[in-house]
Symmetry: C2
Subunit: 387 residues, 2 copies
């Protein structure tokens, strides 16, 4: 198996892709099956001889596999460059990092944007409604393909943290360590509500055409931008918005008594909305938010969250941020309580920051220090060679 040079940005931009299904269809939680499915992914670092140093990085709602390489559409740095690389917390001199686009995504993995082989048309809304469990099942098949029996670590923030938890629950023997960051074992009522606003914004766009916009050679840009804008507010804290923007005006000395973006925060949000639509598929947004809404680990274990981690051998590092109101610390505490009830090996850190939910993407010293400490300890225990 050829592993791409992690620092060769030109080759990793193209991305790696594998079509799976030869070993059987992918069975989904909805009861339907995908006979064949593709997974687009990136790797960074080198897989060691006994394949024990693999780290699976799981992305959030609007992330993708381009965690630590220049994004092929936006030309921007990867979304977790601060985390992945030589000498960084996810040290590519020590670990082999795998970052795959989730099932249902829009950057190459099978999802509503891709062609349904049975019809020759994009799946659109005929794509099966998927779950976090389905995403993880698809990732497990990628690992099978790569010949990796056990991950050294599965890690992610937000929806990525849901996957990290789901991995530990569904495949405890395939996970040495799990790091759910700014995440939860179930989506809250408020988060379902925000998810629904985003979906309704997309569906309200007349260019959505019941999801069949490809057939009309159009896209529901306006609705998707509104969905992104509403969501983006929830990623920041009130304090961060105040510090960053306050009531500062955008390129003007006084208010204009009109509906232009007088305030910097308006201009910023509009920019967030308009750039997002260039790289994200509206139907993917529907499917992925739905998968998050449906996530509730206790429900699948007769209402008992501890049962989801029964006698788990996995080492956990649960991290939350004080100013995160989308996935507040209380959500992480629930996970920790359940793990404690199973006498699991768990460390829990609530990082003091005013940067809100987005803190998991940022260069937060206390957060990174926590992570490095945990990973070093776990890697030593796993017998991984020091860089």
């Amino acid at each position: 198996m050829a592993i791409a040079d992690p620092m060769d940005r030109s080759s990793s931009n193209a991305g790696q892709y594998v079509e799976l299904g030869d070993e059987g269809a992918l069975r989904l939680d909805s009861g339907t099956e995908l006979p064949r499915f593709g997974v687009a992914y990136q790797t960074y670092g080198t897989l060691n001889a006994d394949k024990s140093n693999a780290v699976l990085v799981c992305h959030a709602l609007t992330g993708d596999q381009h965690a630590a390489n220049t994004h092929p559409i936006t030309g921007k740095l990867g979304w977790w460059e601060v985390m992945i690389g030589p000498g960084r917390p996810l040290d590519t001199d020590r670990y082999f990092i795998i970052s795959s686009n989730v099932l249902g995504g829009c950057m190459g993995s099978t999802g509503p944007k891709e062609i349904n082989p049975e019809t020759g048309e994009p799946w659109a809304l005929s794509f099966p409604v998927i779950t976090i469990g389905d995403m993880v099942r698809a990732q497990a098949r990628l690992l099978d393909h790569l010949g990796i029996d056990q991950l050294f670590c599965v890690i992610g923030g937000s929806m990525g943290g849901m996957q990290a938890l789901q991995w530990a629950s569904a495949y405890p023997e395939r996970v040495f360590a799990s790091v759910p960051i700014a995440s939860a074992a179930r989506h809250s009522a408020q988060n379902i509500a925000f998810g629904e606003v985003g979906r309704q914004a997309i569906m309200a766009d007349r260019n959505w055409h019941g999801g069949e916009y490809h057939a009309h050679a159009t896209t529901p840009h306006a609705g998707l931008a509104v969905a992104r804008m509403a969501a983006h507010i929830t990623y920041l804290s009130e304090a961060a918005l105040h510090r960053k923007f306050g009531r500062k005006l955008q390129d003007r000395d006084s208010i204009t008594f009109g509906f232009d973006a007088d305030f910097q925060v308006e201009s910023y949000l509009r920019h967030q909305g308009s750039t997002f639509v260039d790289r994200f598929d509206a139907n993917s947004y529907l499917f992925i938010t739905r998968a998050m809404d449906y996530f509730d680990m206790a429900v699948e274990h007769d209402g008992s969250l501890p049962a989801a981690f029964h006698k788990t051998p996995v080492r956990f590092c649960v991290i939350s941020f004080t100013s995160d109101w989308l996935f507040p610390t209380a959500d992480s505490r629930e996970v920790v309580k359940a793990l404690n009830a199973e006498a699991a090996n768990v460390s829990f850190v609530e990082v003091e920051t005013d940067k809100g939910h987005d803190a998991f993407l940022l260069d937060e010293p206390e957060f990174h220090k926590t992570l490095v400490g945990f990973l070093n300890g776990a890697a030593d225990k796993r017998g991984l060679k020091k860089p």
Copy 2:
């Protein structure tokens, strides 16, 4: 002057209306003028002989003059029935309550929905962008018309609280007491951001037609519903959403793996959106949210909030709610700090509740008790006859 019987719901449903401008045009903060303008209002209770018992109730973003009578469109109880009536905190046996639709509103007062007399067409986006100060100026003209020199009290929650503060600042001699509830002296960056999301949702609706939907015999229902849904989440606390809905399903035993409203919270939000569009004008939503964004009392006083209340003779009762994250207690504290700097007569109560911003509309015992205590004391001081 004929005062409507407050308990005659059929007559008060029709509403009262006055066209003003004979005493001069209404000068707006934008520099433009409205030569003539109309104010739609309701009254409850009886004005006493020396006209000293008038209470002006100021409504929030989506409120209107129908505070304590059946709403002529929805057929529902008034939005502040729990507050206004015989024996209620705003006791109609003691006070004469005036509730007027704000300038820019859509329930009869001059606003973008009304006809511009110069063109014979609805104002739509040609309506001047108004401010909280303009709303208050129009209300002052209504009081002139009613022959009321001084309000016993001006009271309101959210945007209504902004008006209560603006009244005290702009017309200190015309206000005996002011009660801003769940409000602020300036709109925060986060609130401007949410306002912008609502506006963009409306403008993204193809039926908006640059505000000229009346000319196309349509309305941007879908966009306005999305705006309402997003805003509605901010009116509730996470705890209230969790208590009220949690992850409970709507009329089904299990998730459907689709995009219907599986969860009660989705169904509730959709209902909030779809009923709102029957009673509210999309352009009004744009203008009123803009007025809130522009509200910043300090800016008009060289950056000094205390200067906005210089040597104020007004008695203040500032009220906030612990779980209100839209207008958090910190916003109220800023007002109180400024009033204290002016040695104003101010009492401040933070009411413990998990009901979020919406608490100001609800029957919250501690809130009502606080209010009754303050109003009774002030009324006695003002020499108002006990009921």
